[in-house]
Amino acid sequence: MKYFFSALILLLSNMALASQLDWQAISDKAKGQTVYFFAWGGSNEINNYLRWANKSLQAQYGVTLKHVKVSDISESISQLLAEKTAKKNQNGHIDMVWINGENFKSMKQHQLLGNAFAKQLPNWPFVDKTLPVNSDFAEPTLGLEAPWGVGQLVFIYDKNTITTPPTSFADLLTYAQQHPQKISYPKPPAFHGTSFLKAALLELSNNNQLLYQAVTKNTFQRISAPLWSYLDKLHAVAWQKGQQFPTNGSETLQLLDDKQLDIAISFNPNEVISAQANGTLAKSTATYAMQAGALSNIHFLAIPWNANAREGALVAINFLLSPEAQSRKGDLTIWGDPTVLQKQYVTGSAKNTTLFKSIAEPHPSWQAALEAEWQTRYGH
């Protein structure tokens, strides 16, 4: 019995040691490394922010951050899977990814993530633990990814066009019927498009709690039925008569500015401020969320198991979690992405962000099921 306990203690302390990062050694090793960061690259604001991050990282830590712009991060996951199957366990081409939800679940499930790291980062204590930073779409993160920012599904309209915007999906349909060809949403499986489906389904099913459990054939058919009849009605009066959809969220913003659409979709509650500052939207545009609340999630940073520059990636993630980097990210004129740090640590306009009432994401398995069904019904 005694042996058992001492063995257990030894084991536990070993585990604690193994999970304790030697930060000095890491930052020494990181010096001179180039981190290839695969992240969505369709927004000037985000791209410019990452350019700033690279400059600061080079100056402060000697780490180079290269933003590899992808149109959908799932592309990178297929490449990682191919490398995993081909047993390429070293010298991987991806050092760091920007993910959440279904993609995180897929990476975790296929063991594409290395050791847990998030809670050992020196900047972890600053993180706001009242946010659901330890689960990603209800999937426990286990420290395999570090939170980066908060996303909320919001809508943007022009006050000169609409006086009171529709604040429920039912009202949205009525609006679309009164204003044909003026409403649309990004084509799933684009991130914003699938999120639109999920938010609509949550409202149409009266927040059915089964949406927060793994999907089954039976529950899917029963619960999703109102969504499809809703979409049938919406598409009949939608932009381009539902024969065409915007390819992503940023296209809805452009179409709003082009007066093609009356309502645009974004995952950043402050997007309209930075878009106005960059000249891409009119000063008369404003953001709102549905009355029931905004579908909310946290987006994360993770490191693949075969990363070539793991130390550099750790340093980069730690930097991106620093009050300095988070304050700049939250700066309303720069990117405006809400911070994941406790408010007292951030400075400037990042402090002023107030989040909308939040609705939790459904279980990630619903995502693939909704996308597949949408594809069969409307995708071709």
């Binding site: 149109s71 081909a86 913003l253 995708g379």
Partner: protein, 569 residues
């Protein structure tokens, strides 16, 4: 006895020849093998251990596959047909007319516009909020704002128009040298003396000869239209997607099981390409051999809109640059204002700080790959030009040389990319440069064709018989004469390499960023101001190399002329 300018006995020439063959053609083999093994689900490195036809079953059952296939065929055949017909109508109505000079001199710069930049500019002109709509609203009022769209439209009409407009200058350029081979002057004289008009002569006599000779160019146009991904992402239909885009999406799908479907799809793309080429060949045969009665059935000839086509094609192409400049300097440009409301240089100044790295990548890869491909093209031309002597049974057939141009790029790259998984260490730059060499090679070879055909081989023979070393003969006698063509071919190779999107993305694993990959990324992210900047840079780079080639080439021809003038005095 005639000896090749590069001595046939020289072992260094043979080594170079072997190297050229290995580098330019050998990748086609793993490309095909990789494609087949993925499609038939036998690729142990990816955990696929048993041959199966499952991928084909999944492919056939994919919702809307038939729609995508038909759409792709429709876009390809219609754009190829229109490009051929309209190019011919331009030749018929404008050839050697008083405007011909400016048509010909504007050909190169218009052709030099990269497809991606052209597509980005085309969207700015013809989307529902494009410049064209803004004019419509100005004239007819806001209530008449367009609801139809040429961007991402259901039937791919926008893509068809873009491909047609973009390929007309290419076919015209290819026709220039073809028409020189035909005895046009005499043909016209004979036809006129029999009372046929010039127009009738074009349609009844020249068309048939032209069509047979332009065949390969039409093949290249068709394959490009069938397999294009970058331009289709910017402007092509999304519901359904063309097959090439669908394959590209499967290839990028997060679920590895889609690899096999992508493989099967890429194979289907290859089969469709062969089918399309057969279609074109059959149409050609029907028109020129089977149903040729229209050739001798009288004087009726179709009125073809040559002049109008030239105007449309040239005006649209020439509007691309100004609209790109406008958007790149825009801060606010709300719809339906005709001009930007607020101008700004800030997007330029932001991008210029970061652009140098992408320019270095683009130009570095292009310099290495175009120069290598040029070297190999010269070596293979030298080798092939001997076959006329009848002493060598072996030569490199044209079809093999043109293969990278005639096979769908996506299919080849899919096979290559999957093969690279077998190599334990990543060599991204090596693979990207190699792929650029393979794809630039046929264009460079084609661009050298004319110079090699018209070169007077007797000059070589005289020099050799006077005892000059073979390489010296080539260097001091042949090279200066064909130098203008070599320079142009090199610039063509540079422009082909600079415009490559798929090889750079797929084999560089996204790590290698060039001006072109950046332009596509920004354009698909709907970032109008920055994508305009990259589209302009993408246009400017090849233009600079063409300019260089023309200026230095002119210097060489002046020098050659002076040399001969001095000798004849």
């Amino acid at each position: 006895m005639f000896k090749s300018p590069f001595s046939s006995a020289s072992s260094s020439f043979n080594t170079m020849l072997l190297l050229a063959i290995i580098i330019c053609f050998a990748p086609l083999l793993p490309a095909l093998l990789g494609l087949l093994s993925a499609a038939f689900a036998y690729f142990p490195a990816l955990g696929l251990n048993e041959f199966s036809l499952l991928a084909f079953k999944q492919l056939i059952l994919w919702p809307g596959l038939l729609d995508s296939v038909l759409l792709s065929l429709f876009i390809t055949l219609v754009s190829t047909f229109l490009a051929a017909l309209l190019s011919f109508s331009i030749l018929q109505s404008m050839w050697q007319s008083k405007h011909w000079k400016w048509i010909e001199s504007l050909l190169a710069p218009i052709l030099g516009l990269p497809h991606v930049a052209f597509a980005i500019g085309f969207v700015f002109l013809f989307s529902p909020s494009g410049l064209f709509s803004r004019f419509v609203v100005l004239i007819m009022g806001e209530s008449n704002a367009e609801t139809w769209s040429l961007v991402h439209d259901q039937y791919g009409l926008g893509l068809i128009i873009l491909l047609t407009l973009k390929e007309i200058p290419f076919i015209l350029l290819m026709s220039l040298s073809l028409l020189k081979q035909l005895n046009l002057k005499q043909t016209f004289q004979t036809a006129h003396s029999l009372g046929y008009s010039t127009q009738q002569c074009w349609q009844k006599i020249i068309f048939v000869q032209w069509l047979v000779k332009i065949r390969f160019s039409l093949f290249a146009v068709a394959t490009y239209g069938l397999s294009v991904v970058d331009v289709a992402l910017i402007i092509g239909p999304t519901k359904p997607y063309p097959l090439a885009v669908l394959v590209w999406q499967w290839f990028n799908h997060a679920d590895l099981s889609h690899y096999s479907i992508a493989g099967a799809g890429a194979l289907l793309l290859l089969i469709l390409a062969i089918f399309t080429l057969l279609c074109i060949r059959v149409i050609e045969w029907l028109v020129t051999c089977k149903w040729r009665s229209w050739l001798s059935s009288g004087r009726y000839c179709l009125p073809l809109p040559g002049r109008l086509t030239v105007y449309i094609c040239y005006i649209v192409s020439l509007l691309i640059i100004p609209i790109l400049i406008l958007w790149s300097l825009t801060f606010r440009w709300p719809f339906p204002a005709l001009f930007p409301r607020v101008w700004s240089f800030s997007y330029w100044s932001d991008e210029l700080t970061y652009m140098s790295e992408y320019i270095n990548n683009s130009v570095g890869i292009a310099l290495i790959s175009a120069s290598l491909a040029l070297l190999f093209a010269i070596i293979i031309h030298e080798f092939n030009s001997r076959r006329t002597r009848g002493r060598y049974g072996f030569y490199i057939p044209d079809i093999l040389i043109a293969l990278p141009m005639l096979a769908p790029q996506l299919s080849l790259l899919f096979g290559l990319q999957i093969t690279t998984l077998l190599v334990p260490k990543p060599y991204y730059y090596l693979w990207v440069i190699w792929a650029h060499v393979v794809f630039a090679f046929p264009y460079i070879y084609l661009a050298l064709n004319g110079a090699y055909k018209s070169y007077d081989k007797r000059l070589d023979m005289v020099a050799l018989s006077l005892g000059m070393q073979p390489f010296k003969v080539w260097w001091t006698i042949k090279r200066p004469q064909i130098m203008p063509a070599i320079l142009i071919a090199w610039a063509v190779g540079m422009s082909v390499s600079l415009a490559q999107y798929l090889p750079t993305i797929m084999l560089g694993a996204g790590r290698i960023v060039t001006i072109t990959t950046e332009a596509v990324a920004l354009a698909s992210g709907q970032q109008r101001r920055t994508s305009a900047i990259y589209a302009l840079m993408q246009t400017l780079l090849p233009f600079m190399f063409f300019l260089f080639a023309v200026v230095v080439g002119r210097y060489y021809s002046i020098k050659n002329n002076q040399y001969f003038l001095a000798r004849t005095k």
